[in-house]
Amino acid sequence: MIWNETKECMSRDEMHNLQSKRLIKLVDYVYHNVEFYRKKMQAVGLLPCDIKAIEDITKLPFTTKDDLRDNYPFGLFAVPNSEIVRIHASSGTTGKATVVGYTRRDIEIWSECVARCFTMAGVSKDDIIQVAYGYGLFTGGLGAHNGAEKIGATVVPMSTGNSKKLTTMMVDFGATAIACTPSYLLHISEVLAEEGLLDKIKLKNAICGAEPWTDQMRLEIEKRLNIRAFDIYGLSEIMGPGVACDCKFHKGLHVCEDHFYPEVLDTKTLIPVADGVLGELAFTTLTKEGIPLIRYRTKDLTSIDHSACECGRTSARISKFKGRSDDMLIIRGVNVFPSQIEAALCELDEVTPHYMMIVDRVNNLDTLEIQVELNPNYYTDEVRVLESLTKKIAHTIQQALGINAKIKIVEPQTLVRSQGKAVHVIDNRKLI
């Protein structure tokens, strides 16, 4: 099934024309409504009328996560708050969150994109779908929810955190689809196995995203649950889940190209590369009203393929991600930058700023251990003091990053000292 055949299967020429038309409109829109872009364009002597077709996009400046942070919270919004109907936020590289706003039309387009993706993953109005992404500032929960509702499926808003309730309802409701992170789904498969419920579920399809995963992991999920699993991609800066999704042929993720124009850039020159060449993914939001972004650098490394797919869709496909061009980690679906950990630790007198993050996957769930050294002024002869200190550090990290970490105090001088670019992360998960 294809949700919107007109858009998803249009010829490349038609798509080119549509993208050109929308880009011209977008540039005019941001020039007149977002001071940040007007100044950036003026700095390079660019006027809206200089953009005549989608190819002219390379004349436009890039946007980065730092730009969002520098204009925190609403500086890049193109409309007054009276037009914004929803705010979402994700973690930034330092303490401040990356904030995005949606107009009513943005939310409608978002639902449309998620509906396309979920349809691609075999979901229809006859399905009962459990949405087990977090509901809240994170785009995963509400984004998946709206898209599934648009299709007309029966949506069960599980959110995260209660595997037992999820498996019980999966059986009792006869849920046929689930949307969650792939690692969480693997965990769910274990819970089902432990409870002897594997042959009692009616699950057919899973739409997994918010963290990188391999084809091997997909096959493992499909085998354990006897279902089909699909990869959905998105990021809150661009919209949320639903920017791209893979079809049953699993040959890359179809981008909703009429709304999000993808470019894959050479990581050094930032010039777009040819199909099949690895580079950094950038998106331009062709139709967004709330916070339109031009050439937003995602830092995700991928390659692009513009050839037609066996499924009938003509949209460009991006390959599964091959890593990142920055040091961002995705732990249990949460974006984590080592610099955030550093900033949080610097607030605490009791520890030195040296740290090591050890990321692993135990029973299919991500774990984060943070090793710290004590400040010599806080050496103690009481276990109680050390225990309350580890709790305090864990709480500080939880407040700053929204993630639970195990804190391990190590002996002095055992952590690597910063000499230029120190290694602060050991990632034992094999995700790519």
């Binding site: 004590l374 010599p376 050496y379 103690t380 002869d381 009481e382 276990v383 109680r384 050390l386 225990e387 391990k408 105090i409 190590v410 002996e411 002095p412 001088q413 055992t414």
Partner: protein, 142 residues
């Protein structure tokens, strides 16, 4: 009277305790008593030694985090019930004990190393009740 206790933070790794003891051995520092508080991740090795400041200095040179703290070495009769009687005196004054460990080196007397939440108050209580405390020096000469 207080005695200086040397506390060393040790990660739970094979051979780490032995490395601490080796530093003490090489510097001819004698251990009079010890207690090891262990958790799954680390241990706190509390030592009564004949030269605690030297121990701290040498351990620090060898990359160990150590701390000197005031504890009381309390002399009690080497007979059943004497420790309970001591604790009753401390409890009656509403002081919480953080930890303690003992040693008996004479036939008539035993010694208990004790750290309370309020060390000064415990010291005063002991003096008031004529309970003898000794120094590390005294202990090391026994």
């Amino acid at each position: 009277m207080f005695a200086k206790q040397l506390t060393v933070f040790i990660e739970n790794r094979t051979g780490r305790l032995s490395e601490v003891l080796n530093v003490l051995k090489e510097n001819n520092i004698n251990i009079l008593s010890l207690s090891l508080a262990d958790t799954t991740e680390y241990g706190l090795l509390r030592l009564m030694v004949d030269n605690a400041p030297l121990g701290k200095e040498k351990l620090s040179e060898n990359g160990f985090s150590s701390l000197l703290s005031n504890v009381s070495i309390i002399k009690i009769p080497h007979k059943a019930g004497s420790l309970q009687e001591l604790l009753k005196v401390i409890d009656d004054n509403g002081v919480n004990i953080e930890y303690m460990y003992g040693l008996s080196i004479e036939s008539t007397d035993a010694y208990v190393v004790l750290k309370a939440s309020n060390a000064d108050k415990v010291d005063a209580i002991l003096t008031e009740n004529n309970i003898e405390t000794i120094s590390c020096d005294t202990l090391s000469k026994m």
